[in-house]
Amino acid sequence: MKGGPVQDAGRLMARVRERDTAAFEALYETHQRLVYGVAMRMLDDASAAEDVVQSVFLALWNRPDSFREGNFTAWIGRVARNRCLDILRARKVRNEDAMAVDVAGDCALDDEIFARLDGDRVRAALASLPEEQRKPIEMGFFEGVTHDEIARRTGIPLGTIKTRIRTGLHKLRDQLQGAVVR
């Protein structure tokens, strides 16, 4: 692991476990926009997005052991997304299968890449994808819909959707990796 921010977040979380409010504030300052951005994009409601920020960080303060290891930024982004998925589900009755809720931090994240990423690089990488790949990826991530629903909404066969998501994620990874190496 080379990324300073990753180590910083790890150290700050260790202090948060000791109830250090200054460390908590520092984590909040550096990750508030990420959580708010995810929530705004998914919920399209500023008030609801603020509530998500509040609940995610308050839960972090109350249960700091919920973050165990890995990349904190990736972890809290996923926590925010999961919280938004809960809200989206509550907003509508879904006849389809409920979407799985991922385990935040259940796999080793590529810290080196993540620590050096920022919004501009991610936006550029996503924008470089062909629309046929970017669209199902963004629908799956931000709209909280399953691959079946993406296929239904777009009228594209499910198998094609899955392949496009996979191809797109590979390209996205390559783009992001290239962006941080340059």
Partner: protein, 220 residues
Amino acid sequence: MNRATHDEMLDLVAVHALGALPAGEAAYASAHIALCDECRAEYEKLRPAADAIALEPDNILHARDCARMKNRLMTAVRQTPSANRISRQMPTVGALIALAAAIVFGFFTIADQRKMHDLELAGAKTYAVADGEILKTPQRVVLVMRRLPPLAPGRTYQAWTLAPGANAPVRGPGRRRCGQRRAGRREPVADDQAALRSAADLSALSGAQFRLSLTTSPTV
């Protein structure tokens, strides 16, 4: 599993990395990933790319709103229990886990045998428990079950590995908590299925013996 079928599995794994699979398929993908090196490598390769998408939104948050939100949060933080109170609560966790271990497997019935087939072919040893099944390789352990009882909102299932006689999760280079899933509140219970992958290093377990326990806890 032939090559064509496995390529389809890799596609499914990518959708899983994105977090866009329905619960049943996600459980199946998780179980397969736990025992298939190629699919696990694919998942771990694509997951960071999927996670990075969270950085994409570019919403403007005005300084005034930032300050108001922070004040709201910190006011709530100052009203929470002190560190000492939290630390006094911690020793009870192990006891609760041990208690849960004794009763947990009574909740479930054996998972879809067709879906278990791939795992068995991978050379895993299979152990039947009261109402579930455990598959174990030297490196990993997979717990597959279905018909999880619905949980109250805001709680998750968590699976743990415990050394014999221990009342606390195994510590080691791997993770203590080996997996969790949130019970879908809208899922038909009869179709519910979960596979929990242990990321714990089983070599840390004395004599390769271990216990699995399942608990529920608040989500974050």
